[in-house]
Amino acid sequence: MAITFKEVSYIYQPDTPFEFQALQKITTQIKDESFTALIGHTGSGKSTFLQHLDALLKPTSGTVLIGDTAITHETSNKHLRLLRKRVGIVFQFPEKQLFADTVEKDIAFGPENFGSSPEQAAQIARQMLKLVKLPEDILNRSPFELSGGQMRRVAIAGVLALQPEVLVLDEPTAGLDPKGRQEMMHLFAELQKREHLTIVLVTHQMEDVANYADQVIVMEHGKIVKEGTPRYVFADVKWLRDKQLDVPASTEFAFEMQKRGFLFDQLPLTEAELADDIADMFKARGKRNE
């Protein structure tokens, strides 16, 4: 499902001294079945942008098209609930939303809200638990007995249980160990291919952007300042640093090599590409020496 923004602005607490414009006339499209990464400095409006994807916030002006449903300032809340089944949001530190007395009930909470019977919901809960690679015997335990990483998985399972078409992830791997991070990102990439999901990922991990995203949106002060493929966005290292953003470690390494006289056709994004490029350089040098 594609999501289109047309001239979307959002103002927090309008007409008070605390008024703050978080989004300024944003126009963009998140394509169907794409993996879009949203990057930007803290306070650039990413979270506000995210909440528009699920109509949790309605634009102060402009239109958001979620699928073919148009959301404007005047859209009433009545019609939004069913929309929310189609868009799942995993908020930052989603383990904070756990509340039920068993893991099973917590995962089943979403499906039940959208009309699944308790039996159906329990079955979905079981499937989802397997999906996020947790053992089945924790189904009847309290979510508060689990470790932080396990709680995170249960919370994510609770969102996946809605079986959404669009999955919005707000820093899903923040605070996880490197292995947990990798597994989690792998899971999302796998899901996207299998279920034909559209994924929107907010992250500060540029490696994840380089590895998984096919589209990058860069935000600053409530505006989109650049969008395109990861290769296009990461090409200008200086510009990104100006925006207080990073590039993947491999790109950074290549950038430093370039300063010392090595030539790259285009800066590599991943370790594999970097290794290939360097191997090519050695080959070329070997040929010259022959």
Binding site: Y12, Q13, T16, P17, F18, Q51, D54, L56, N77, R81, R84, K85, V87, G88, I89, F91, Q92, P94, K96, Q97, L98, F99, F109, G110, N113, F114, F144, G158, V159, L162
Partner: protein
């Protein structure tokens, strides 16, 4: 929730903002007590002038004060209506059963309106011009004499300042949790009383759990930084009585004396 202005602090540079919070707190109390002695229009006029003067000295937009009164307007109107219909004494205009409208009833209703408005104005001024942390410092300082009676002043002040510090954090968290549950299909605006109460559980439980966790983390962090209780601690923020506070106190005392003189002489 966001519209509510009462109890918010607006940082600014002004005469009132730079006053000692203790002075502001005590003078606000004095004002509220004195206004209950008011019984004629001269007194009300005088007190209104003092209130407006204080508002002017705070440099905060008057519009904000009007917005501060607005949420409470129905309480004021309700009290006035009761006064008008049940008031007795003076000339009778209208009578039906237990209801009657009299000249004195109308006068009292008008007094109540002015009284309410002035009290709200002054307390809004206090909260708009004083940060919560200053207020809790002021309360601690003013309660200090109670330590003689073994009242745990320091502990109360500590709890107060921690509580105030975490109000916005908890509000943010409530909003995030609400959003997360809305995204999972909870519709907070609909249903009868019983279903609505049931819908609060998915917010309340995570909120309590996170408050417990936060309390534990905070306690650990405080201990790790050498906190051992109130005895023998020094203070970083010192309250200082300045010339502004003396001027303001003089003005308010003068007002109090005049009001009491008109009232009792």
């Amino acid at each position: 929730m966001n519209k509510l202005l009462f109890g918010r602090y607006i940082p600014q540079e002004s005469f009132v903002h730079r006053m000692d919070p203790r002075a502001k707190l005590v003078l606000s109390f004095l004002y509220v007590i004195i206004i209950f002695f008011a019984n004629n229009w001269w007194i009300y006029a005088l007190m209104a002038i003092v209130a407006l003067l204080s508002i002017w000295a705070s440099k905060i937009k008057p519009k904000l004060f009007v917005e501060g009164v607005m949420p409470l307007i129905w309480i004021i109107v309700f009290t006035m209506v009761i006064q008008i219909f049940f008031g007795t004494g003076g000339q009778m205009y209208w009578h039906w059963g237990i209801f009657s409208i009299t000249s004195l009833g109308i006068l009292n209703a008008a007094y109540i309106f002015v009284r309410f408005t002035l009290i709200i104005l002054i307390s809004t001024l206090l909260t708009l011009s004083t940060s919560p942390i200053q207020l809790s410092d002021a309360i601690e300082s003013l309660l200090r004499p109670l330590t003689k009676l073994h009242f745990p002043v320091y502990e109360v002040a500590l709890m107060l300042s921690i509580a105030l510090r975490f109000v916005p954090t908890l509000m943010d968290e409530t909003e995030t949790i609400m959003n997360a549950q809305r995204a999972r299909g909870v519709d907070f605006g609909t249903g009868n009383l019983f279903t609505r109460i049931k819908k609060i559980i998915p917010i309340l439980i995570p909120l309590f759990v996170s408050a417990f966790n936060r309390a534990e983390d905070l306690a650990t962090a405080m201990e790790a930084r050498g906190y051992q209780g109130g005895n023998g601690r020094t203070k970083y923020r010192l309250l200082k009585w300045g010339i502004r506070d003396s001027i303001a106190t003089l003005v308010y005392l003068l007002m109090a004396v005049i009001v009491l003189a008109i009232r009792f002489l």
